[in-house]
């Protein structure tokens, strides 16, 4: 028997790996020093721990340790990258290129700059799989472009963008390339040199580390990238991000990176196997189920599907002992279905019907079997209750119906 509830929402957050927690614990009350205290052993001990973590983090993305700047998380890293670049390079230009399926931390940073008259922004569309076209990136570059900001892999549909191709274009055109790699780091191989990334955002809690800590990679050479700090204070992190370092969190992020790097090949194989079993089980047992996102260029743990004729939130309610998420309007505060799913150009109705399964390190095959059964049964029950399913089975073309709305 599986233990309920089952957590299958690992794109939202992940539990702290017990090995990460063990690494962190001494830094709460025994080795509690301030890493900036240069005159006693408490400070040195903390600084040593931070240095070690910096190396572990740099290693997983093939960077140099001094290129890692600690932040409170990826939202701060995204804000710092985007606002920091635009401010620093304001004499060079003011144009940003991004895409419509980016995380809100990126989109809203761009919108704020637009609203304040500090930047103009091009929001590139994506194809039906949620992938951005590198040629579209190239075509959007103007002599005013100072920043390309595109994610590595999408948090909702798992689609992995052609990052190395975009990186090459950025290099060739001399434009800074920021990559929000929150979902990719530690899950798939990320290499800032191979991928041509100048700035990279990452977060600890997506890779079995603690919440409230993240980092930004800032390229130091070829070219040296500069950002204007967005936080004033003691000049920590080479002046780019003031504030006493969250030593325990940083130790956790470092350990999480070390484990992710050491176990990536094995974990990818295992997660992919679970994902494929879940996908096959659902698709074999239900008709009119649609995959959202790219069929192959996708994060190993991601499965995003639309169950036609069933509204996503009602499905979540029916499988309340399973933690997954939905692109349905009803699960958001805005009453709009997911902007990521809608950007794929699929029917609005299918956007309301989308469910994201996020498989991770601690999911088991038994859990996948249980989830497949529960989801299948609940979809069948809700379809029996769905007027749309009834109409479709009677041969009514739902698109030709004049719906009564106010």
């Amino acid at each position: 028997m599986v233990k309920l509830p089952i957590y299958m929402d690992n794109h939202a957050t992940t539990p702290v790996d017990p090995r990460v927690l063990d690494a962190m614990l001494p830094y709460f009350s025994q080795k509690f020093g301030n890493a900036a205290s240069r005159n006693h052993s408490f400070g040195w001990e903390a600084e040593e721990a931070v240095d070690k973590a910096r190396n572990q983090i740099a290693s997983v993305i093939n960077a140099k340790s001094k290129e890692i700047i600690f932040t409170s998380g990826a939202t701060e890293s995204d804000n710092l990258a985007i606002k920091g670049v635009v401010e620093f390079y304001k004499d060079k230009g003011n144009h940003i290129i991004t895409c419509v399926t980016e995380h809100k931390a990126v989109l809203d940073s761009c919108r704020t700059l637009e609203r304040n008259g500090k930047a103009t922004v091009t929001y590139l569309p994506v194809d039906k799989y949620g992938m951005v076209d590198p040629d579209a990136v190239r075509a959007a570059i103007t002599d005013k472009t100072v920043l390309i900001t595109l994610m590595y892999a999408n948090n909702e549909i798992g689609t992995i963008h052609p990052v190395p191709a975009i990186g090459r274009i950025a290099k060739e055109k001399g434009v800074v390339f920021h990559c929000d790699a929150v979902q990719a780091v530690g899950k798939i191989p990320v290499d800032v040199d191979r991928d041509g990334i100048d700035l990279l955002s990452m977060s600890a809690h997506k890779i079995y580390g603690p919440k409230g800590v993240g980092a930004i990679y800032v390229r130091s050479k070829g070219p040296r990238v500069r950002i204007t700090p967005q936080m004033d204070g003691g000049g920590h992190e080479r002046g780019m991000r003031s504030g006493t370092l969250n030593v325990t969190g940083i130790v956790g992020l470092g350990k999480a990176c070390e484990i992710a790097q050491a176990e990536m090949a094995e974990e990818t194989r295992r997660t992919l196997d679970l994902r494929n079993k879940l996908q096959a089980g659902i698709f074999e047992r239900l008709d009119e189920v649609y995959l959202n996102g790219h069929p192959t260029e996708r994060l190993p743990g991601n499965l995003n599907v639309s169950f036609a004729y069933v509204e996503g939130e009602s499905l979540l309610m029916g499988i309340s002992d399973i933690a997954v998420s939905s692109g349905s309007a009803c699960t958001s505060a805005t009453l709009e279905p997911s902007y990521v799913i809608r950007a794929l150009g699929i029917d609005e109705e299918l956007a309301h019907s989308s469910i994201r399964f996020g498989l991770g390190r601690f999911n088991t095959e038994d859990e996948v079997g249980f989830v497949t059964d529960r989801v299948t049964k609940e979809v069948q029950r809700l379809r029996e209750m769905s007027p749309l399913y009834e109409m479709a089975r009677e041969g009514v073309d739902l698109k030709s119906v004049q719906w009564k709305t106010e």
């Binding site: 309610m317 349905s328 609005e348 109705e349 007027p387 739902l398």
Partner: protein
């Protein structure tokens, strides 16, 4: 978002799910909402043409748990009521019964609309000589 106990109860054990047989007499059907909005309710009422009383009700709903619960509750609410009385049912009754939060009020509005749409549909199929008009006068 936490659901009220009553919403969960109706969602888990929805009342009167289904459709009347095609061509069944004295059935009015109301379909409200739209798939792209994430809510479609189909409410069917079987109405006695002799006295205008709703004798049976069935629903099918595509929508969130609150939409399903609202339509389920409405089928119970209207049974045994005269159509003119059913026409006066306000969405606030549904909100109160199911403890719907503000973000779910549109579900109750949709359910109210579904009642009106079903009754209007039924009326449109009645011949002017239908018995319901004089009966209604008697009752009121």
């Amino acid at each position: 978002m936490a659901y009220s106990e009553k919403v969960i109860e109706h969602y888990t054990n929805p009342r009167n799910v289904g459709s009347f047989a095609k061509g069944e007499d004295n059935v009015g059907t109301g379909v409200v909402g739209a798939p792209e909005c994430g809510d479609v309710m189909k409410l069917q009422l079987k109405i006695n043409p002799e006295n205008g009383v709703i004798e049976d009700a069935k629903f099918k709903t595509f929508g969130c748990g609150s939409a399903i619960a609202s339509s389920s509750y409405v089928t119970e609410l209207v049974k045994g009521k005269h159509i003119e009385e059913a026409m006066t049912i306000k969405n606030t009754v549904i909100v109160k019964e199911l403890n719907l939060p503000p973000v779910k009020i549109h579900c109750s509005v949709l359910a109210e609309d579904a009642i009106k749409a079903a009754i209007t549909d039924w009326k449109s199929h009645q011949t002017p000589a239908s018995a319901q008009e004089p009966r209604k006068a008697q009752e009121s």
